[in-house]
Structures are given as structure tokens and as C-alpha cells.
């Protein structure tokens, strides 16, 4: 079987899995899973991020601990907990898709929280002071003054987070979720003679998606930085917690 024969036979399987005769899979599942995870993680991440800068310790500390724990553990560990251990607590076997979605939402929320936190902390202190002086409450200041401004700063980071999420969905492979990496290895098993080509195609697929999106983020960043004066240089504002993997 030549490479072109293989593409001809399997392209639909690669894109949608066994759909419509079976569950949706392949590249479309990867994209849907990544989008759903990001959309669901966004509100959660915003709440956690706001709690991270909260003036009240009782709110700040537990949330900070949660962020540290999630960011200090591999995503795969979270997936394993959800997939192998959760059923023994609830008695119901969770499917691969809900498991992966839950793990991704939890994981993304912790990383988004840091983006939200950085976005909020990058605003000049005068913004909070002015809003409070005008008589707005803490939450109203957050909602009406700080969040709308910091969201603009955060947009490029959000797109980058989407790229990370797409890359993270590939871990579904390990629990047998039929996303694109799993489908690729199934095709590899069936064709058998073209492993290098199959996996290079898989890598190329991810590359096109992620590179395209990261260019979008880059453009956004440049547009935002030309429209408003550059933020003051912040030496050593490096986040020691690391980036999503």
C-alpha cells in the first residue's frame, strides 16, 4: 500500500472516526474536545484567578494551594485519577470523553487562573483606587473596571492556551479516547507498513493547527501593543510555576 492509497482509504476515518456509524472521533473530536474544555474552563479560571488576588486570605490560600497542586502534577496523573479511581468512589464507570473533559477543564482552569491573575496585576493600581474612590464596591470594581481592561491584555494568552489545550487532548490516547492520535495509531495498525509516514502525518496535522493559531496570537499581541502604550518593563515578573505542557 502506498502513502497515497492510505490517504485515499483512511482520510475520512482520520477526520471523523467511525461517525456516522459509530461515535465521533478523529480530528473533529480533538477540536471539539479542546474547544469545549477551554470554554468550560474560562469561567472557572476567571473565578479562581480573581480569588488568587483576593484581599482576603481565607479565599486566597485554599485557591492558591489548588493551583499549586494542579500545576505541580502531570496532566496524565489527573487523567489517571479520574479514569481509574473515580469509578471506585462513585460506582459508575466514567466514559473516556467525560473523563478527559473533566481533567482538561480542571487543568486549564488552573492555568487560565494564572493568566487572569497576571492580567489583573498588570493594571495600574490607580484603576482600583479610582473606582473605589468613586464608591464602587470591590466586586463592582472587578466587574466594571478591572476585568474588561485586563481581558484585552489576556486575549493573546487565551489563544496560546487553546494551542496548549489542543496539544493536551492527545493524552486521551492513553485511556483509549478516539481522538486524532488514537485514530492515527489505529490506522498504523491496519496499514502496518508505513509507520513513519502515518506518524509524520499526525505531527503535520497538529503542526498546521497549532502553528496557525499561534500566529493568530502573535498578530493579536502586536495589534494590541501598537494601539496602546507599552506597559512599563517589569523585571523578574517571571512565573516560577511553569507553563502548561
Amino acid at each position: 500500500m502506498s502513502y497515497l492509497d492510505m490517504l485515499d482509504t483512511y482520510w475520512l476515518f482520520y477526520l471523523v472516526g467511525q461517525y456516522p456509524n459509530g461515535p465521533l472521533g478523529g480530528l473533529s473530536l480533538t477540536l471539539i474536545l479542546a474547544s469545549a474544555a477551554l470554554v468550560l474552563a474560562l469561567p472557572l479560571g476567571a473565578v479562581v484567578g480573581i480569588c488568587r488576588v483576593s484581599p482576603w486570605r481565607i479565599v486566597r490560600w485554599p485557591v492558591t494551594a489548588l493551583v499549586f497542586v494542579v500545576r505541580g502534577t502531570p496532566l496524565l496523573m489527573v487523567v489517571f485519577w479520574a479514569y481509574f479511581f473515580l469509578p471506585s468512589l462513585t460506582g459508575v464507570k466514567t466514559g473516556q470523553l467525560p473523563t478527559m473533559l473533566m481533567a482538561l477543564v480542571l487543568f486549564d482552569a488552573a492555568y487560565l487562573a494564572e493568566i487572569v491573575r497576571a492580567g489583573l496585576q498588570s493594571l495600574p493600581k490607580g484603576q482600583t483606587e479610582a473606582a473605589r474612590a468613586l464608591g464602587l464596591s470591590y466586586l463592582a470594581t472587578m466587574r466594571l473596571v478591572l476585568l474588561p481592561q485586563s481581558l484585552r491584555h489576556m486575549l493573546p494568552s487565551l489563544v496560546n492556551q487553546f494551542v496548549s489545550t489542543i496539544k493536551e487532548t492527545s493524552l486521551g490516547y492513553i485511556i483509549g479516547l478516539t481522538e486524532v492520535a488514537f485514530i492515527a495509531s489505529q490506522i498504523n495498525t491496519q496499514v502496518f507498513t508505513l509507520p513513519a509516514q502515518v506518524y509524520l502525518t499526525l505531527a503535520f496535522t497538529y503542526f498546521v493547527l497549532c502553528f496557525g493559531l499561534s500566529r493568530v496570537a502573535y498578530r493579536l499581541e502586536r495589534r494590541l501593543s501598537t494601539r496602546r502604550p507599552a506597559p512599563p518593563p517589569s523585571p523578574a515578573l517571571h512565573n516560577p510555576l511553569g507553563q502548561p505542557t
Partner: protein, 230 residues
């Protein structure tokens, strides 16, 4: 109930400890290979030559935009087919799972570290480079004696957090059957039908070292703050 003795003695304890040792070995070996490679890439990215620059840029973008899992699958299943028969036989006889994982981790980590080193070097004002060159030093000598020592302070914290990412990434080697910590934890789970104990062991190990690395990063930032450039 939580069976602590499972983790402290016996065959399952040995499996988990062996897994942890291999994970740590992967971390160490990858760091040893990735650091020089990323420094080379960063220098290529900053070199005056356009071609070298483009090569390093393509490398970084190609590697970073593909998930580590796909790298692992390629090195383990795909790459051997491209090699001559005898080399392949030799590889399969020599713990190829670990070698493939090491390849994937090194390439992946070096792409990220290269970008960190590059932005660290760029944080050093261009006049430093110019002054070095004006004094008659070559590009590489200026780098080595003038720019890199200053860039180190800016570069070390992000490199430490890349090390943290690398530590978490070693777990993905499970996918090709490298017998590291995550693989052993899953194996113990299958053998004993107990998921709690092995997963607690693995989580504590991952989290413990992660917090240690994070602490190291914070400590470095405190003791080596970035000097303001006048």
C-alpha cells in the same frame, strides 16, 4: 482501606521505586542533552546569518507545535523504519523505549529552552554586544565573556520552570511503554486492583519534586535579582 505496607515493602514497592528512579534518570539525561542543544539553537537564532537563523526558527516552531505524545509515537514506532536493519536490531535489543523517550524529550525540551535563553540574551542591551565587538572581540567571544554571564540572571528562572515542565512531561513516556513512574503505577494498579495506593505514591513523588523545583526557582529569584540597566 489505604494499605501503606504495599508502598513500603514487597514487590510493588520495588516496582514503584524502579519507576521513580527511571523518571529521575530521564529528567537528568534530558537536561544534560537539552541544555547544550538549546544554547546552540539560541545562538543560531541570534547569529547574524539569515540562513542559520531560519534553520533554528523552523526547528523551534516545528517541535513546539506538535504535542509531545506525537513526538513519542514517531520516535518509537515511526523512526526505526527509516533506519537500516542492523541499527534497528541493535536498538530493539537495548531498551529502545527509554532511548526513544529520551530523544523525544530532549528535542521537545530544547525547543522551549532555546526560546528562553534567546529572550534572556536579548534582555541584555545591544550596546553590550556592540561594546564587546568594538573592543575587537569576535561574536562568540563577546557572547561568552560579555553577554551570556549577564543573561544568566534573566535566563535561569524560566529554565527552572522548563525543568519543572520536563519533570511532568517524563510521565508521557508511559505511552510507548517506558517503565517510568506512571507506567509502573498503572502496572501496580492492574496487578493489585488497587488504584489508590500506587496513584498516591506517584502523585506525591511528582508533586514533591515539582514543589522543590518551584522553590528552587523562587530562591534563585530572591538571591539573584535582575540588575536594572541604567
Amino acid at each position: 482501606m489505604f494499605d501503606l505496607s504495599l508502598l513500603l515493602t514487597g514487590p510493588y514497592h520495588d516496582m514503584l521505586v524502579k519507576g521513580l528512579t527511571l523518571s529521575l534518570t530521564l529528567l537528568g539525561l534530558t537536561l544534560a542533552c537539552a541544555l547544550p542543544l538549546s544554547l546552540l539553537l539560541a545562538l543560531l537564532r541570534l547569529s547574524p546569518s539569515r540562513t542559520l537563523n531560519a534553520i533554528a526558527w523552523s526547528y523551534v516552531e516545528l517541535i513546539r507545535n506538535v504535542p509531545l505524545l506525537a513526538h513519542m509515537l514517531f520516535w518509537y514506532f515511526g523512526a526505526p523504519e527509516l533506519l537500516p536493519e542492523s541499527t534497528r536490531e541493535w536498538l530493539y535489543g537495548h531498551d529502545f523505549e527509554t532511548i526513544a523517550a529520551l530523544c523525544a524529550l530532549t528535542l521537545y525540551t530544547s525547543a522551549y529552552m532555546a526560546e528562553d535563553i534567546r529572550s534572556g540574551i536579548r534582555a541584555v542591551p545591544a550596546v553590550q554586544q556592540e561594546a564587546g565587538r568594538a573592543l575587537g572581540l569576535g561574536f562568540l567571544t563577546t557572547m561568552r565573556l560579555v553577554v551570556l554571564p549577564q543573561a544568566l540572571r534573566v535566563t535561569v528562572p524560566p529554565l527552572i520552570s522548563q525543568t519543572l515542565n520536563l519533570w511532568k512531561n517524563t510521565s508521557i513516556a508511559t505511552v510507548i511503554g517506558t517503565a517510568e513512574l506512571m507506567y509502573q503505577a498503572a502496572k501496580v494498579e492492574t496487578a493489585t486492583f488497587r488504584s489508590f495506593e500506587p496513584f498516591v505514591f506517584a502523585t506525591v513523588a511528582y508533586l514533591g519534586l515539582s514543589l522543590l523545583i518551584t522553590g528552587l526557582g523562587t530562591w534563585y529569584q530572591h538571591t539573584h535579582p535582575v540588575r536594572a540597566h541604567a
